[in-house]
């Protein structure tokens, strides 16, 4: 128990924000696993205020100003209530009585802690070095909110209330199943505004908590599936860019997370150039040992790169992570080999996961690249043209490939690759469909040339028929 106060005193005296944050953390440190338990046993509701006051104000090893001590008093009072609730909930959970674990009240009491900390900051009582405390409150608020919502959903399911529910306007209303998380989002938003509006000079400013809070908000909004709200955050950050230190000045962890989320938001908006920037930078800044993070970044980086640079990831890259390997390898091999059948199969196999991550629609564009590869193969297979008269003197003639390709050949290649859509149902091939595919490739600048319909051939440009592939 005293370890807590020792830490507190040390932290206050050495201005160690992170150490201070551990004193109000819901997770006891490894060195003192029974900390919360001891804390809740140390005093009781009747005398909590006096005990705390003794520890904070009259404690010789802690030198706090009266106002600050008062603020900490409030924080620890709320923390005391919180530990009681948390321990009760945890006990219920370990005893297997999940239904009785009241995470909802845990959430509410933690919210109280947050409010007291918030008051400490808004009254300018706490100094800026203590902002890791904000990190702690925000982070756990989110976690408890998720737990409380899960429990609420489970209990609703059990009692069959899920169908009864609340009804408002027209027949059905949106589920309130994320109630706590939405509330948490609001609270964290308050903290964000608090940090943003700090007018103190930079060394002593709360603005250093900005990106961490922004990241928390992103995580929450993504979970709530309300991406547009994240755009508001980005906008406010951009608006105050002149006052805040640049992103590179913030801790690397904040940077990587922020870039990741900005990249994903840009990706979902179909702004692939911007997404590529963010995600690449996140990927490069990210520590290689944080494999899960790397995996998450790559998950979005690969489709982005596919679209912008038409580049596929190497085998080596994909093998870094089993999930990536499973999801993307078949696709990449199929595209390289221009195997339409395999591509469709791979896309379908991973469909659920792709759709969940919202990358399915982007991966479909991979089909365009596949078709381009296919046409290129046909082109290559066409061989070389016989050198014209008068050329090739001196033996330095560049062999020119045949540029006139009958549509029939392309159709045959498509059949071989397993394209079923070009069949017209009678065992033949729908030539118009093939022409359409070629026309699209030309339109999208995957090929340069034109279709001469009356002669049934595709004429490709002599130089650079397939831009970007060196042909």
């Amino acid at each position: 128990m005293d370890a807590l106060w020792d830490d507190f005193a040390t932290a206050q005296n050495t201005c160690n924000g992170y150490l201070l944050a551990t004193t109000i953390s819901p997770e006891p440190p490894a060195t003192d696993p029974a900390r919360l338990y001891n804390f809740s046993r140390w005093t009781n509701a009747y005398s909590v205020q006096t005990d705390l006051r003794y520890k904070l104000q009259y404690n010789p090893s802690v030198h706090l100003e009266k106002k600050e001590a008062g603020a900490w008093l409030e924080v620890f009072t709320a923390f005391y209530t919180f530990t009681g609730k948390l321990l009760a909930a945890e006990e219920a959970q370990t005893a297997g009585k999940n239904r009785e674990a009241d995470w909802s009240s845990v959430y509410e009491s933690w919210k109280e802690v947050l409010s007291t900390v918030y008051r400490g900051y808004s009254g300018n009582v706490f100094e800026a070095w203590t902002i890791p405390c904000l990190y702690v409150v925000g982070k756990y608020l989110r976690i408890f909110a998720i737990k409380a919502d899960e429990q609420a959903a489970a209990s609703q399911r059990d009692s069959g209330l899920a169908f009864g529910g609340l009804q408002e306007e027209d027949a059905c209303s949106a589920a309130s199943k994320n109630e706590k998380l939405e509330d948490a989002a609001r609270q964290i938003n308050r903290i964000f505004a608090l940090c943003l509006g700090d007018r103190s000079p930079l060394e002593d400013s709360r603005k250093w908590a900005l990106y961490y809070t922004a990241n928390l908000l992103f995580k929450t909004y993504f979970r709530l599936n309300s991406i547009p709200l994240s755009k508001n955050i980005l906008r406010s950050l951009r608006a105050s860019a002149t006052d805040t230190p640049p992103l590179s000045a913030f801790p690397k962890a904040h940077q990587v997370t922020f870039k990741y989320y900005s990249g994903v938001i840009a990706f979902l908006e179909e702004d692939y150039a911007l997404a590529e920037d963010f995600l690449m930078s996140a990927y490069q800044t990210c520590d290689r040992r944080a494999t899960r993070n790397v995996e998450m970044i790559l998950m979005y980086l690969i489709p982005t790169k596919l679209l912008t640079a038409h580049r596929l990831p190497t085998q080596q890259l994909l093998q870094q992570s089993p999930t990536l390997d499973r999801l993307f390898s078949p696709l990449c091999t199929a595209i390289k080999r221009a195997d339409l059948r395999a591509f469709n199969a791979a896309l379908e196999a991973g469909e659920d996961e792709f759709v969940k991550r919202r990358i399915y629609l982007t991966l479909e564009r991979g089909r365009d690249i596949l078709l381009r590869n296919l046409f290129r193969k046909v082109f290559l297979a066409g061989g070389f043209e016989a050198p014209k008269e008068g050329e090739g003197e001196g033996g330095i003639a560049a062999a020119v490939r045949r540029t006139r390709i009958p549509v029939r050949e392309i159709a045959a290649a498509l059949r071989m690759a397993g394209a079923t859509e070009i069949e017209d149902g009678e065992g033949g091939v729908d030539g118009d469909e093939v022409e359409c595919l070629v026309a699209n490739a030309i339109y999208k600048n995957f090929m340069k040339g034109y279709i001469a319909r009356d002669r049934g051939i595709v004429v490709l440009s002599k130089a650079g028929a397939f831009p970007g592939t060196g042909l």
Partner: protein, 375 residues
Amino acid sequence: MGVDLAEMQHKLKVVITQAAEAGQLESIDWTTYPLPQHLVQAERDAMALPGGAQNAHSANLNASTSYLSNGAYLPERIHKRKNEDLEVTATEEDAVTPSWKKHNTNKGSMEDRMTGKSKKHDKKQKKQDAFRANGLGTNADVLEKRKQRFGYTIEKSYFRLTAPPAPDTVRPLPVLEKSLNHIRGKWKNEHNYNYACDQLKSMRQDLTVQHIQNELTVKVYESHARIALEMKDLGEYNQCQTQLRALYKLNITGKSEEFTAYRILYTVYTCNRTDMNNLLADLTLADKQKPAVQHALQVRSALASRNYHKFFRLYLDAPFMGAYLLDMIIQRERIAAMAAICKAYKPDVSLCFIAQELAFFGDVDAPDPDAGLRQ
């Protein structure tokens, strides 16, 4: 003895107040209604009869019982009215025979009353009723008024609610079912969109305030959605679609295959990426087996890869009412297809080819060939 001005005016006031309370001000045919002085005269005549007051009392008893038995007839009357294809509402019809006359319905048909066979008897009833209304406010009278307002109306206009609705204006479930059939019939015959829309919205309102969520609710929304689609009212259609999705999630049976297909096509039309992502995430394996949904998904993928050829083939055989939605997409897709064709084909292409590729028929105007070229 003549009726003097004061009495006539008093009587006039009474009649009008009663009509207003019963909500019959618009529906009573005032031109044929007896004049106030006649009414007063009739009263006096009746009063002059021996035992007039007694008559009043016994008629009162009769009236109560006859009303109650009358109440049981009411649904049948509505039913018959529909079959006879009359377009009057319950209130309108009642207005032709003023409320108190109903007490006699079990004795004679409407026609009898109108031809005045028992006019004297009617007048006596009227007098008695007026007598009662002036003083006692009986059960029969109140019940009578309530019957008209209590939502036995099949047709009801839509008014936006600004406060909780009056319970007597909300129609109960059986009436709503009849209402739906009635409106459907009228739509088939007349194709009056404003009217149908109005009626359906009021039905939706009645269902919502009563928290009714069953097959009837689904049918109402489906009908409204189809009608809106036909008339290209996408705002209304979108509302219905959203509600239908929520209702299907509650496992209420309805044409979920058809409407899931419409939803996909609608999302394609609005080019709403987020919605499309969410929609695809929601589709179950069972959904994807259904032909209409498969067709819609194929449309989506054809458009995603700009495969105009396939898209126009799919346009030609769209199931259910999907063609209406595709009609709205087709304009911009034709231009996009033209752009690709103009870029890819040289030196020229036959008009016939374009007409066929872009699914034009007959003498429909082909788009300006140069429109796509400059893209």
